[in-house]
């Protein structure tokens, strides 16, 4: 089964292999090609080759999303450091609705919430996320659903 998913899996595996190896003789590189092919074969054989393992439809918008996410993470790191040092925490627990359609979108949204310090996704049921926030401001950030809109935009792909 050769399609865009298996080909992109092969090239990302092989690129990673080249980075980790550092030795570029013919014998060692061909061994790398063989081992990557074996991995792709096992992935196809085990039926893991679906949108969930290789969400290639994310890729066109992934760079812009990553830059936005890193900016968000940096800002909330500063706020979290301030909260810890000034002893002004008032934790709260609440639920938000996610507007993503696919599982990959929901996972990306939940992981983005957790990756941003100050907010953690504690439970997920269908499209309701239970979120724990360190202060009310962090909670308002999640409730304003800016990140939700960004992930939905990312999910639509191109």
């Amino acid at each position: 089964m050769i399609n865009s998913k298996s080909i992109s899996l092969f090239f990302s595996l092989f690129g990673f292999w080249l980075l980790m190896s550092g030795h570029y003789t013919v014998l060692i590189t061909s061994l790398g090609v063989v081992s990557c092919l074996l991995c792709v074969y096992l992935t196809i054989k085990g039926n893991f080759l679906d949108n969930e393992t290789i969400p290639i439809y994310f890729f066109p918008r992934l760079i812009q999303y990553t830059i936005w996410l890193i900016k968000e993470i940096f800002m909330s790191n500063i706020t979290t450091a301030k909260v810890i040092l000034s002893k002004s925490e008032e934790p709260e627990l609440f639920s938000v609705k996610a507007t993503q359609k696919t599982n990959e979108g929901k996972v990306t949204y939940a992981n983005s919430i957790t990756l941003t310090p100050g907010t953690v996704t504690t439970q997920i049921k269908d499209n309701v996320f239970e979120v724990h926030a360190l202060t009310k401001e962090f909670g308002d950030d999640v409730r304003s659903s800016e990140m939700d809109r960004m992930v939905t935009w990312l999910e639509k792909g191109k």
Binding site: F16, L19, M20, G22, I73, F74, N77, T80, A81, I84, L85, K87, E89, E90, P91, E92, L93, F94, S95, A110, N111, S112, T114, L115, T116, P117, G118, T119, V120, T121, T122, Q123, K125, V128, E130, H132, L134, G139
Partner: protein, 107 residues
């Protein structure tokens, strides 16, 4: 001149990283319950680790080691939210009640 400025930027980056790691460690001890402590741990994983790795990248010069360091950063970035979520999820499922207020209906 360029060498010295790279050295200085790298040292600043290390200092910022160490500041975030220290603040995160203080938070781990000082915050009231498991859910709040995850936020402090998340800060160590994101800002602390990123700035220390950035400093190492500047120290190492441009080589294959740079790419490996970038990948260490990416893997920390991908695995940190999973450990945080698993800890929080298990604590909720085992019935740990968070300190502070609960708004609206929760799961």
């Amino acid at each position: 001149m360029l060498d010295i400025s790279i050295e200085i930027i790298s040292i600043i980056s290390f200092v910022v990283g160490v500041f975030f790691i220290l603040t995160g460690s203080i938070g781990l001890i000082r915050l009231p319950d498991v859910f709040s402590r995850i936020h402090a741990a998340g800060m160590i994983d994101t800002a602390g680790a990123s700035f220390v790795i950035l400093g190492m990248i500047l120290q190492s010069g441009f080589s294959l080691i740079t790419a490996k360091l970038v990948f260490i950063g990416i893997f920390i970035f991908f695995t940190s939210p999973i450990t945080g979520h698993v800890t929080a999820n298990l604590a909720r499922k085992k019935g740990v009640n968070p300190v502070g207020k609960t708004k609206g209906k929760t799961l």
